[in-house]
Symmetry: C2
């Protein structure tokens, strides 16, 4: 399958791969075996010739290659990243897509207008010191209290490894602090957070929620201002657990009175991500997600894509799509910050690709990035948020800067206010989050068949032509509405496969 | 209480503090109220005068202060850190302490000579992707299998946020990789690790345990070479869990046949740490731990202290104590690496102290470091290990480089092979680790009284003279032998307060 008519490589879509001598339609006779998702040269390539996929140069041939060759990672020399100072800015923002009306889901609406897709009691923590105590309390709440409050979906502690033993005044410290504060404000929590603090830690509760945030309506307060409980003020472990349970019981009673109401699809805040990608990601699952992203934008929702290192090499395709030059500038600023962050650690964006990406046919980060950004669909970029910042609601398509690490990206998208997550995977990963549902989409049918109890939707039939990108995009859109309404359960929620939160901390530990 | 006769400040040891006008023994009349653990000027101080505690300069008076003043943080200007290029090296190593014989504990001895204080089934993970699946399996193992194997203490997954979405070839990547590999070899696991891998992650199992490590006896192999289980090779979630349970059942049967045997105290590998320190730490708990450290060294054990940023300002007192110039050079190298690491992140060692430290009377990192290093006792430093490296056994006192963050330090000491942990605290923290027992020692009696179900030993009576440093040191030594033998349970084990592992990753995420 050729991603664009101008490409001089195609990708094998047959699940078993193709053998030497095979004669695929519209392609030369293969001179060697090529596995599923790997690339075949469609024309002869001379050493130094550009290799084109998605109508972009993904590398240069390292040696002469006859047509029908397996274009493996080591036969491609990687191009440099697009320079950041000469990018087109807002030169081709998409014309406004036709509005899409009448699609709704059943959600929990807050006074500030945000909508939850779950009704969860959340316990925010300032420091890992309190985590086992809070975990103990959460287990008891789940066993002893939750059965009495059937309208509450779950109780969870927002634990993390930040909070102390870190350089709390370092230049990058605002990133994890903002992230953890905003995690506690995720719309899937039904009210102002309970903040469990040790007492002596560096990240004091008032670093998470400064006084002005408590009074100007930034916090979606249901039960009053955030409640702070400090372990060092309590008489030991059992007294602390009793205090947490006492708080929880009151809050659970409030949450239990809430009911789902019909909300327009515009109230979805969807985070898009891919993990364990392969070379089919960019022609099956990610374009289908991109089509669904366009549907969401047409319906007036907020849709975020993320993962700076997977956008970096496609940024020249995105800055022209920005709605304004200022949005393009913000996107460029995020790319530059990450370039410098990686350089400080002796790395660059090429550190992104994993062994599984490469076995899945992705030669390098350029090819991966081009496939990854297919998730963004065709609409204009109408906002950019920095790490850990809340995204605007009903704001269309935006870029929420995060690392590409699955858990860090997911955590940061939750901090941005995500209430539904779509995750595409080619190699397969049993990823899940406790704070919001994760819809997992496979890029290839062999994975969906091997993992029937983990994959929620298979985009593999796009590769064989059995379904179109539009077909799968509409299926995904409908599935999102069902999952957001609690009518369908994702596999990760079914098995409670919930990865730990991993707020992004680019600063040093002390 | 004055820490050294040459000091011009003392510390208030009365639990309620002292009021203005109080006339303590051997000290001037107080000109203002001073809380517990805070400093009082014993002589008049002129602006710029050195302020001495532990017979070291902890700062310079920021203004004129009469005798009897409260010497608060803001009245002290911090000295610069000791320069690293002019330190004395191995000029005063301690004379060998008299051997201490006849002290034993009951432990699980391995073929390689190492000894466990617990008998735990450990599941190593290469990446966070597999963590919820393994956690699900651990829950089922604990409920369904463990009751049939009464000699096995526990089952645990070594989960962490490393493994993918990281720059696996960055200069600092060997630190987390080495740490996670060595965690799986902790002597409290009864055999070669089961490694649960996703399949496509960057930290492939052979980065943790390269072929040569499997064959040259570096791994304490009981049941053969490490077993690797790759989720992507299994048919979904339920099949993977079944495979983990099948492995676990076989390994539990092996572990269940093990019995404790009498071992000399020399087989202890003790990690020392402090957290939530106050100004009493350096005159009560830490000196008592230092006395116990000397007992352990005399008994032939390995004792590690750690926490680079809490040693940095006392390094000039430690390099002379090194047994050889090479050991001093290694210590200096660790200080220099951390200086550079912090500088890359826009911080320095002054980022260490927390609000609680300051409320507890510690003016700055200089004062904190002088108190912290009291844990090291009086013996010569006979080894230095770098981050995540295994410490030698029966090797006396050594410095194991780690960050000072409680969880990162504890994790890294476990990677070094720690089988018993001693943790001192003034402000109080319910810290615990699943891999080895943690004995928590309070620096002050009010904390021990407030947290009777968390503090294992109170060193507070040293401040009032009710007990001597030697008394508490011996008590602690005996308690260590009891806990290591499984005869006494620590409070953190009693409540299962086990903090998550936090391997040190100084490199970037991607």
């Amino acid at each position: 399958m050729r991603a664009h008519p101008a490409d001089n490589v195609g990708v094998v879509v047959q699940p078993e791969g193709l053998r030497a001598g095979a004669e695929p339609v519209d392609a030369p006779r293969l001179v060697e075996d090529v596995p599923l998702a790997h690339k075949v040269s469609l024309t002869p390539l001379a050493a130094g010739d550009p290799v084109r996929r998605y109508n972009e140069v993904i590398g240069y041939a390292a040696q002469d290659l006859p047509a029908g060759s397996w274009v493996r990672e080591e036969l491609l020399e990687m191009p440099t990243a697009p320079p950041l100072d000469t990018l087109e800015r807002a030169t081709r923002p998409a014309s406004k897509l036709e509005p899409l009306e009448g699609y709704t889901f059943e959600g929990y609406r807050h006074a500030d207008g945000s909508v939850g897709t779950k009704n969860i009691l959340g316990l925010t923590t300032t420091v890992q010191c309190v985590a086992p105590t809070v975990a103990h309390a959460v287990t008891r709440i789940r066993q002893e209290l939750l059965p009495r409050f059937p309208n509450v979906d779950d109780v969870t502690a927002l634990t993390h490894s930040y909070g102390c033993g870190v350089a709390i005044n370092a230049p990058d410290a605002p990133i994890p602090i903002r992230s953890i504060g905003n995690l506690g404000l995720n719309p899937n929590f039904g009210g102002a957070p309970l903040v469990v603090s040790l007492g002596c830690e560096k990240m004091q509760p008032d670093r998470l929620y400064p006084a002005e945030a408590l009074t100007n309506g930034l916090l979606p307060v249901v039960g009053g201002a955030p409640t702070v409980l400090r372990l060092q003020e309590n008489a030991g472990f059992q007294a602390t657990v009793a205090a947490i349970l006492e708080f929880a019981e009151k809050r659970l009673a409030e949450l239990d009175r809430r009911r789902r109401v019909t909300c327009p699809a515009a109230d979805l805040v969807v985070g898009l991500q891919c993990g364990g990608s392969d070379a089919l990601s960019g022609i099956t699952a990610n374009p289908a997600v991109g089509f669904a992203a366009d549907l969401l934008v047409r319906a007036g929702a907020t849709v975020m894509f993320s993962e700076v290192t997977e956008v970096r090499d496609a940024v020249h395709l995105l800055t022209p799509r920005c709605a304004t030059p200022e949005i393009a500038d913000a996107l460029i600023r995020e790319m530059r910050w990450y370039d410098e962050y990686l350089a400080r650690g002796g790395a660059d964006r090429s550190a992104n690709t994993s062994p599984g990406n490469k076995r899945g046919g992705l030669a390098n980060i350029v090819e991966k990035a081009l496939g990854s950004t297919a998730k963004s669909g065709t609409s204009a970029l109408s906002f950019v948020t920095t790490h850990g910042e809340r995204a605007p609601r009903r704001a269309g398509l935006g870029f929420a800067a995060t690392p590409a690490s699955d858990f860090v990206c997911g955590t940061q998208q939750l901090a941005a206010g995500m209430n539904l997550h779509v995750f595409t995977t080619g190699r397969g990963t049993p990823y899940g989050l406790v704070l919001c549902p994760v819809v997992k989409v496979s890029t290839n049918t062999p994975l969906a068949e091997r993992w029937p109890d983990l994959i929620d939707l298979d985009a593999g039939p796009i590769a064989t032509g059995a379904k179109s990108i539009e077909d799968v995009g509409w299926e995904l859109f409908q599935l999102m509405l069902d999952v957001a309404s609690g009518r369908k359960q994702t596999w990760s929620d079914r098995w409670r496969l919930h990865n730990d939160l991993a707020p992004f901390n680019p600063g040093p530990v002390t």
